[in-house]
Symmetry: C2
Subunit: 189 residues, 2 copies
């Protein structure tokens, strides 16, 4: 990754952390991160207290792109059912890219195995917002049990992206019928 | 972990690799594994070509316990629907244990991010056998699309164990209705 000189050291470190942990996992070394960012270790420690903090900040910074890449625009006039299905169509689309490794916010929590890690906490919150989106749409769409439906959709989201990320399933013809069945059972027309 | 002297060095290494990678991830060092097993590094390299091979062998060895902990006994007289639900009741039960970190065969693939790694290949095969079990039961139970149902159940299995493993969901009141809905939609009575 060639450092882009129009970005600040901080931005380059955030970008390197996001890219390299996604490709190689949270075990990636500080040397590799600094090298990819074109930033000295000394500068890194002036900008971030620790690698843990850098990782948490990189996940935080990516969260708006994560949301924009999945969620429909607010008030786009579509039904709650269509708005929920939009999220899963995006997952299927993203999973088709050769570099897809599943949802980074799930992977980082599985890899860190520590719910109190600052990066796990950011990831937990970002995914909680996705569940909250499902719940809001479930209520709007008159689901019989919005909490249950939101948990089911979160489960399908994580299962689908994890399985696509490890190459266990390509998701084709899988997500739309699965989500459709769950929406039907919840009475969401 | 105190080495149990009635086990061979090989068995102690397999046990340490399974336990420590589950707790701490695949990044666990060879020194830590050898220390926990009470085996010298030299002995380890006489028994296993590499840490990768040790990890793969530990996953292979655990696979019979994985299957026994999830699958119903062959020919137990229950219906295919009940036999499928049994697997998910076991997941819910296992997820209640404080040390539960999700399915080790999913986690290791997410962590390694390398489908050609010997441990990923073992994990891929073990999970493939679970999908094959679902498919066999789906056919036995007259599911309208056994392949689809097997993929859906695998997706629910991975989503549920992953979310429970990271503390995003406790699975209570979630899996049975979700699986039940999918079985109903597939026409499995």
């Amino acid at each position: 990754m060639a450092p882009e000189t129009n970005l600040s050291s901080r931005e380059r470190l955030l970008e390197a952390a996001a890219t390299l942990t996604y490709q190689d996992g949270v075990g990636i070394g500080i040397e590799a991160l600094c090298k990819a960012a074109g930033v000295s270790k000394r500068s890194m420690y002036q900008l971030f207290e620790s690698k843990d903090e850098l990782l948490a900040a990189s996940l935080e910074q990516r969260s708006s792109a994560f949301v924009a890449g999945l969620l429909p625009a607010a008030g786009d006039g579509r039904s709650p059912r269509e708005r929920i299905l939009h999220v899963f169509q995006q997952v299927e689309l993203q999973a088709g890219a050769p570099e897809f490794q599943g949802c980074r916010y799930l992977a980082v929590q599985i890899e860190l195995k520590d719910q109190s890690h600052p990066a796990s906490q950011v990831a937990h919150r970002v995914k909680g917002n996705l569940t909250a989106f499902f719940r809001t749409e479930a209520i709007q769409g008159g689901a019989s049990d919005p909490d249950l439906l939101a948990r089911q959709l979160s489960l399908v989201f994580d299962g689908a992206s994890a399985r696509a990320g490890i190459g266990a399933d390509n998701l084709t013809g899988l997500i739309t019928p699965t989500v459709g069945t769950l929406l039907d059972a919840a009475g969401m027309s």
